[in-house]
Symmetry: C3
Subunit: 348 residues, 3 copies
């Protein structure tokens, strides 16, 4: 069961150029392609209305997407505009199209009622358009787990001390567990911020910003926007610079990560993420190094969450016990459950 009246990331914009892209989203097989003339991307159901062949086996021609089997052509609205050897095109010869919007390097898709597809509701992430201040690299992982298990992962950062022991978690188990944590519910999600005030900067921080000093105020700020976006801003400033009131000063360490979780099926999803370097913007190697470090850490998350999914597939969720560190996670789940119920009520 998925929230369908919502914008999901279908692809990185650059994944669809001349070539078409097949992706399954909320259990629907989708093909994404760009109109030759306008270069605007469109999303159709990946199934020719003639013989059911996936349109993603076809190619883009002047008039639209040509089926690779018998040559029917569809435009980005899903209208059939050409049937070889046949002058009249019956109106029922069409395929379903889905609202698709290109914004901030993403292609956002709307899987529900097209009437409700309000473009103003798409999450803003302007940092993707600011390579000067936020140089970044991105990825997409295929994860064999329900997308919500990946969001869970991001809502409880105590996992850093266990999953990422050998990478970003470091030996700071207690520091992470004892951080000050403030959760703020929002209508379609939540915001939380964690502060480690007057703490020893981890090696990564010192390496990134050599003169950051011996004591720093560190923050981890996360915003979850249902159903699948998590926006992260993490960093540290020398203690004494009043970081809690002004984090955006020169001389600190900070990075931004966008996490986009898009359901493929009930037990698989796509994990779109980018990592932006906010501390040594003129050093491409710093951006590369950050990307590499995050790649390793997120592969660890993928591994443990996939194992969790396999066990839940086998045993269900009965008997599971929430703990204190689940606060943000439990709130996030409640919000998603509420939104899903609202959508189903509105449909009924």
């Amino acid at each position: 069961m998925f929230i369908k009246d919502a914008w999901y990331i279908a692809a990185w914009a650059h994944e669809v150029k001349e070539q078409v892209l097949a992706r399954k989203i909320c259990n629907e097989s989708i093909v994404i392609f760009r109109d030759k003339a306008t270069q605007k991307a469109g999303a159709l159901r990946d199934r020719c209305c003639h013989r059911g062949t996936p349109l993603s086996y076809g190619q883009v021609v002047d008039a639209g997407l040509e089926c690779g089997y018998h040559g029917l052509v569809f435009n980005t609205a899903g209208t059939c505009v050409h049937i070889p050897g046949q002058a009249k095109i019956p109106s029922k010869a069409c395929v379903q199209s889905f609202p698709l919007v290109e914004k901030d390097e993403f292609l956002w898709i709307w899987m529900g009622d097209p009437e409700k597809a309000d473009v103003s509701k798409i999450v803003d992430y302007p940092y993707h358009n600011d390579y000067g201040k936020w140089p970044h690299k991105h990825e997409v992982y295929h994860v064999k787990a329900n997308s919500m298990l990946m969001v869970d992962n991001l809502m409880d950062l105590t996992h850093l001390a266990y999953v990422h022991k050998s990478t970003i978690g470091g030996s700071n188990a207690n520091a992470h567990i004892e951080a000050q944590m403030k959760v703020t519910p929002k209508d379609t999600g939540l915001h939380f911020i964690r502060w480690l005030l007057n703490s020893t900067p981890p090696p990564t921080y010192k390496k990134a910003v050599p003169d950051i000093g011996e004591r720093v105020d560190r923050w981890m700020e996360f915003e979850f926007v249902a159903p699948g976006s998590v926006i992260q801003w993490t960093g540290g400033l020398k203690t004494g610079l009043d970081a809690q009131n002004n984090r955006d000063q020169e001389g600190g360490f900070s990075l931004r990560i966008f996490h986009g979780l898009t359901p493929e099926t009930e037990n698989s999803c796509y994990y779109f993420w980018s990592a932006a370097n906010g501390y040594r913007q003129n050093d491409p190697q710093a951006t590369e190094d950050l990307f590499h470090e995050i790649t390793v850490a997120f592969s660890e998350d993928k591994g443990i969450v996939q194992a969790q999914q396999r066990m839940l597939d086998e045993t269900g969720t009965s008997g599971l016990v929430d703990i204190v560190s689940d606060q943000a996670r439990v709130h996030m789940r409640r919000t998603v459950t509420k939104l899903l119920a609202q959508e189903q009520q509105s449909a009924a």
Copy 2:
């Protein structure tokens, strides 16, 4: 659901020599082996009546096929003729046998009521016995698609312009789409012939028969015999030689292809095919080249049809729309549906 009162190709005759062959046909696991004395091939259910072990894990001994687990031996009629350490063989110790006939390099099997297995109904293909006039090579592909989707493929040749763009289809999309097409229904199938009169010979034709000239009359003749045989004769003659009334003249280009589709399961089949060189019979390389070209093209068919099957598995067939070029295909499907209904009525 399969037509079972029918002859299907179980194997190429040469696939069964000393070694036995396991194959699943119409969802039944079958073992095929040759009697040592007579060299006649027989087909049994691939399941020992003792402990259920596949007989295809055994070996042929003088008295028949010996189970590889505890040594029971069965003859080609499925009668148990030896139980180690036991003098009396109970009558229920037997396995089902299936009528099997070797003809024209094929082993034909009958999966339905053995009483109805009329050998005279087996499709004739004498070209397999005429290596002088029709030198040929053959193959068997395992295709993860319902056998009827592969027959569909052969009934609508407009796919050549799309699936085989880079091979046999060439750049003749319109020529193929606009060909004259004559479909003749038959009791157990259909016949169609397509003519491209006074047309430019494609490069393959000119290469095969250098003095074929600049204008040719080309034909593509197909006969479908339910449930799984398609017999193809394709070629061209210099325009002016009255090809439509006498195709079998010297100096032209022609090839024959046999297509045999045998269901394995509801969404997989075997594709037996041979390609015979009818233009440069004394040149073994010409036969090799033809075989190679067809190999590439039929792999393209296999690829697109498997993709089609996966999508139909996911979405079913609802909403699909027939088009003008489906004429022969739709007729073929109607015939098969009728034969299946007749068989089920007669069984009830």
Copy 3:
């Protein structure tokens, strides 16, 4: 359906040292680990009570097994002894534990009612502790077949002449089939012994014991203890030495094999086995050679039994016919069926 009130082999003791071991037994996912202080091994359900993550992705710490996701720690009794960031541990925060006993190089697990787990019922196999008289090596195979099909295999030795034609079966088909066979039913299993009196020793025997002579009395003694243990003692003595009354003399050939079959699922199991050299104990190469020979033979058993399972999955067991050589096998099956019925009756 499995007998659960019984001891099964969960692992070779050496498989669990610092590292933990995940194994599925009777359809339950289990994690086995050793307590750091006591080195005693324990078995828990492989599912953290917090978020369902497999505990086998964690690591052993001083207090017990630490979950690799959020750091909860459980002792070998399944009690949660630590929740990061939380002082009070709720009583429902626990995981199921299973009785586990280390004995004779095995870890034996009890999957049923813990109240009934009587350690005195565990099969004795003292030869594993006697490297002087019975030097041995061991293995564990994962077999894609119901464990009972593997026990079947051991209860009907006529298969040696067919499955092991090229290895231990040799060309002695008739000798094996005509052996004297005595079956003795027992409450929880059966015992059988086969004698080949005054027979030609096979090459293996002569190679192992060069002065064994030209005529030997050979025995194959097997004891089945439900649900999964088969204890084998095989050997030969020069004819005339009264082997039937005193097999344990110097100068003969003999080997011992332990077969332990533990269900993983309804159609897969673990096959734990060891092979002990009872004829040239001072020659490590003799132990290696014996192990190698058995490895090949048991891989043959695995192959044919997996094929049998696949066919039974496809066709069920209807129509199968018992034969004379099935005597011990049929008795074994009857015993297991009886024990299973008793367990279910007692549960109801």
